[in-house]
Every structure is written in structure tokens, then in C-alpha cells.
Symmetry: C2
Subunit: 212 residues, 2 copies
């Protein structure tokens, strides 16, 4: 009973996800789904990247997911891009129906890329397809180099991994070698980007990847 209903929930989700994917494909818009723990630095990555991507002429819109508050949307709004905040209450992930509804509010003719910042959670958001072209894992140095092994699913599904807060490596026991080994044990073709939103180190490489 429980399993059957969960399958129905996921199937209904996938219908909405497919609709979003088709809509955006027809308009030539890319959709990214950023997934990471609370405090991994997802919003900071957007704050750093959006001005650089705007400079290159890319027109971006953002969907922010959080249990509560519009704090992240407020941080993004000052960058002068369309942004919508979704509050999930006790919900642990964004679902495709929510994303589909937001799409009706965006000026899609004037957008090249929509970036979703999912609810801070390294587990649940991975299971819900949002119609995105790719899932991107965001993980911070301070979470520890063993996390890909302990929470493997997102690192299996996300080809692209952004490692944030690399400026804090000297003050922790984080080993980039152990982290890379852990990633590679899950997926061989992973693209790893090192980033510090404090110093800006790594931003240029990331811009090139987003802009491709």
C-alpha cells in the first residue's frame, strides 16, 4: 500500500517534470537543479556566478526552495534577475508540480537559463525529477571528505560537482585526494569544480562550464 502510493506520487511528479522539460526545450532554455546540504553554499554560488554570467549576456531566472523565509530570494533579487521563492514548510524537497507552476510566472521569451536551488538536503531532492537538463551537486569542504561515500545517490546522478569553501581547507582535516577518490569510486566521469565564494577562486572556470 505504502509503496504503491509512493510510486503513484513519483509517477505524477514525472508527468509534470516531462511537461516542464518539453516546454523549456521548445524555447531553447536550459534548466539546472542545484542540490546540496543546508549551508553548502548554494545561494553564495549563485550570488557569485549570476553577475559573471550576465556579463556574458546570459539571461537567467532563479527558483529558490526553502522550508521557510524568503531570505534566499531576497539575496538573488538584488542581482536584478527574475526569482521566485517556494516555501515547502515541513517538505524536504521541491517537486515538479511546483516548478511547472512557477514557469507560468516567468517571462520565458527573455530567459536563456533557469537555475533551481533546491531545499537544503543531500538526500530527498535527488529522488524527484524536476525536468532539469542536469542535477548539480554542491558540497562544502567543511562537510568532510567522506560525504560522497555516505550519501552516494546524488553523486551518482550529478555529473557536475561544485566543491565550495576551499579557502577553509587549511583550517580543517579535509583531504582533496580522499574527496576525489570518493567521488571517482561512485562515478568515473565526474566534473569537479573547486570554488571559494569568499576569494572568487575557481569562478572563471565555472562560468565557462555554465556558459557552454
Amino acid at each position: 500500500m505504502e509503496i504503491k502510493v509512493m510510486q503513484n506520487v513519483l509517477k505524477a511528479n514525472d508527468v509534470f517534470a516531462d511537461q516542464t522539460a518539453e516546454l523549456l526545450k521548445a524555447k531553447g532554455i536550459r534548466l539546472l537543479n542545484l542540490i546540496g546540504s543546508p549551508g553548502a553554499g548554494k545561494t553564495s554560488v549563485l550570488e557569485l556566478m549570476i553577475p559573471l554570467l550576465k556579463d556574458k549576456g546570459l539571461r537567467i531566472a532563479v527558483i529558490e526552495g526553502d522550508c521557510a523565509t524568503a531570505r534566499d530570494a531576497q539575496r538573488i533579487a538584488v542581482l536584478d534577475v527574475p526569482v521566485v521563492q517556494i516555501n515547502t514548510g515541513n517538505g524536504c524537497h521541491l517537486d515538479a508540480r511546483q516548478i511547472g507552476t512557477v514557469m507560468t510566472e516567468f517571462p520565458l521569451e527573455d530567459i536563456d537559463m533557469v537555475i533551481i536551488e533546491n531545499v537544503g538536503n543531500l538526500v530527498c531532492p535527488t529522488g524527484f525529477d524536476l525536468g532539469a537538463d542536469e542535477k548539480i551537486a554542491v558540497i562544502s569542504v567543511t562537510e568532510g571528505d567522506d560525504k560522497p561515500l555516505k550519501y552516494p545517490r546524488i553523486f551518482h546522478e550529478a555529473k557536475m560537482v561544485i566543491l565550495t569553501k576551499i579557502d577553509l581547507i587549511p583550517y580543517t582535516n579535509f583531504s582533496l585526494q580522499r574527496f576525489t577518490d570518493a567521488l571517482r569510486s561512485i562515478r568515473q566521469d565526474q566534473e569537479l569544480f573547486l570554488l571559494s565564494c569568499t576569494t572568487g577562486e575557481g569562478a572563471e572556470k565555472l562560468v565557462e562550464r555554465f556558459w557552454m
Copy 2:
């Protein structure tokens, strides 16, 4: 349909939680449920505290929750306390049935306190009662001082909050004042413990609280 089944799942969970609570109460055993994001430092807190609590004569057992690997249980086992690892696969929280099963494997006559380290997740574990005497929130400096506002439920339910990685405050924009204000806006009677597992700062106060 979906809501009704979710209610049934939670109701079934509560039956197991009540059984565990009654069993442990009858034996005079305290049960703690540690909840925090991946990398918040939950295992490090246990590594620091367990030897100190053992020195005071407290007999401890540990239940470790993770999606994959037995790494955390291995770290705890070297402290020479009973420990069981539960791997949830894609599951985002521990449930009371799992905890009840583990209790049958512990030598309860020789235990004063069982500590559960839940799956790294600031959202889902909060919704599943495990029969614990209290939920304890573990959050790290590097997650940012705004997280209680964005993920309020656990900070509403947990009277006790352990703020880890305080040795990293000088290298971040974390404000202890903003963090404390955020906590107090959710719950007035919160007990906040500051801790560095690297330097050991704050451990003695925490031992006293655990030992009470």
C-alpha cells in the same frame, strides 16, 4: 489517499516509538536523538564526548544512521561501546521500527544511555518520533547563522542545540549574535552549547549537561 497513507505510516511509527520509550523507561535508560545536516559534526561530537562520559561512569550505546557505509560505526566502535549501524539506502531518516529492532540487540541491563545519530538531514528526521527523551539539534558554524530561520522545525522541537566548529568562526562571516537571535525567535528556552571538537572547547559544559 496520499495524506491518509502518510498518516498511517506516522501512526505505525509512533506505536514502535511508544514501545521503545516504555521499554527504556522501565530500565532507567535515557535515549537521545541527534539531528543535523550531513557534516554538521555529529559523529565528532560523539567521539569527543563518549570518553569523557565513560570517565564519569556512564555506560553508553550508540545507533548510527547513514544512507551508506559503516564508517561512523567504525569510528565509534574504537571507543569500546556497543554500536549498531543502520544503512537506509535512499531513506532520509531513521524510523522507530528500526530503533526498536536494534534495542533487542543491545545488552540493556548494562546501559545507562543510548544515543542515536540520525541520518544527516536537517528536515526529515524531525518528523519521525523514535521514542527518545529528547531531540538534540547539531549545527555547525559553517552552515551559516541563518539556518534556524530557514529550517525552523528542528529548532522548535529541540530544546538543546549544539553549535559545532566554533574554532572556524574567525574564518567565516558567522555572527553568534545573529545565530542566537534566530534561535530565540523560534524558541525562548533553548539551551545553546558552543563546541569545538578540534580544540575541545566547550566539552566540559556539554558533559555536565549529558551527565545530569
